[in-house]
């Protein structure tokens, strides 16, 4: 289930962290989810590459303090828009499930 939402999670983490490299994105996800998401860390990288290929992220190479080459990712405008859309869909879904599980009827949207 988590894998199905990986793109949204990565976009959200990058929106919160600003520009970040893969390791920092994973740390951001762990910190913000309270360690709830325990994916193999390596799966983040194909997701980062895929999102970049889709134009939702951009990347640049920098040199870390350690002297190693580091790839830093940033959300593009299209990425920010995509995240907003996914947030809205998620909220709608979450409200519906919350209403269902909590016993309350979800707020009806006017026709």
């Amino acid at each position: 289930m988590l894998k199905g939402h990986l793109d949204m999670i990565v976009l959200a983490a990058l929106a919160a962290a600003g520009s970040a490299h893969g390791y920092a994105v994973i740390e951001e996800i762990k910190q913000r989810s309270g360690g709830a998401f325990d994916l193999p860390e390596g799966t983040i990288y194909p997701a980062l590459h895929r999102l970049e290929q889709a134009g939702l992220l951009s990347s640049r190479w920098t040199t870390a303090d350690s002297g190693r080459r580091r790839r830093v990712y940033t959300l593009t405008k299209a990425g920010t828009r995509a995240l907003a859309e996914r947030r809205a869909i998620w909220k709608q879904f979450s409200d519906a499930i919350g209403g269902l599980l909590g016993g309350a009827r979800p707020r009806e949207t006017p026709a």
Partner: protein, 234 residues
């Protein structure tokens, strides 16, 4: 000695990603930075245990390579579609250059040859037009698909459709180029070979090379798809 542990993993990952050399180099650098940062953040410091923890948390090299293989296949499919469109444009330019050359030369064509040429020309025209339309459809089709996260059945059928479109475009282009070769042969039949006929032969050679590039690209993508499928199954 300790350093070899991470280096071994990186070698293994780079080897698994060998299907795409530039991707392999890039991913290796990213993962190297990741693993050493994970080791640096480990309270145990740089030890065998911290390195194996970093590698275990990162995941199986083959599984990660398989996810990248899907991305690589998508990128190369899109590139192949663009090459197909460029190849068709190349054939068109060679065709137009030859026609312009014929118009500039004072060559007379016999009535019997003219009649046969008209029929071949009709085949040529429709075959080329079909290759343009089918090639553009293929390019638009693959460009407008979402980038898949996995080599799932939906992506497989998407690839199958793309291959079918590419093959159809290639067949139409082969018919068109073969018609051009026949037309050129008819025009020069009974004539002595001269330096001026070299222009026509060269333009046909360019067209054949363009078709060769297209066939090579289709075959390359098909092989890549097969190796990606094999990587996903293992």
């Amino acid at each position: 000695m300790i350093q070899d542990f991470i280096q071994d993993y990186l070698e293994r990952l780079a080897h698994e990603l060998d299907f795409d050399r530039s991707l392999s180099r890039c991913v290796r650098q990213e993962v190297e930075d990741h693993l050493w940062e994970a080791v640096a953040a480990d309270p145990a410091g740089n030890t065998f245990e911290s390195q194996s923890r970093a590698i275990a948390n990162f995941g199986d090299a083959r599984a990660i390579a398989a996810e990248f293989a899907v991305l690589s296949l998508t990128r190369h499919s899109r590139r192949a579609a663009l090459i197909a469109v460029l190849v068709i444009a190349g054939v068109f330019i060679a065709m137009k250059a030859r026609v312009a050359w014929y118009a500039a030369m004072p060559w007379a064509v016999g009535d019997d040859i003219r009649a046969v040429s008209a029929e071949v020309m009709l085949i040529d025209r429709y075959a080329f037009l079909s290759s343009v339309i089918i090639g553009l459809v293929g390019w638009i089709y693959i460009q407008t698909r979402n980038i898949p996260a996995a080599f799932d059945p939906a992506y497989r059928s998407q690839l199958r459709r793309f291959f079918l479109i590419c093959r159809a475009a290639a067949v139409a282009l082969i018919v068109s180029v073969a018609s051009d070769a026949v037309l050129t042969a008819l025009r020069f039949s009974g004539m002595e070979f001269s330096a001026t006929s070299l222009v026509s032969i060269l333009s046909i050679a360019i067209e054949i090379a363009c078709v060769g590039i297209l066939v090579f690209q289709i075959r390359r993508i098909a092989l890549r798809a097969t190796s990606t499928a094999a990587l996903m199954q293992s």
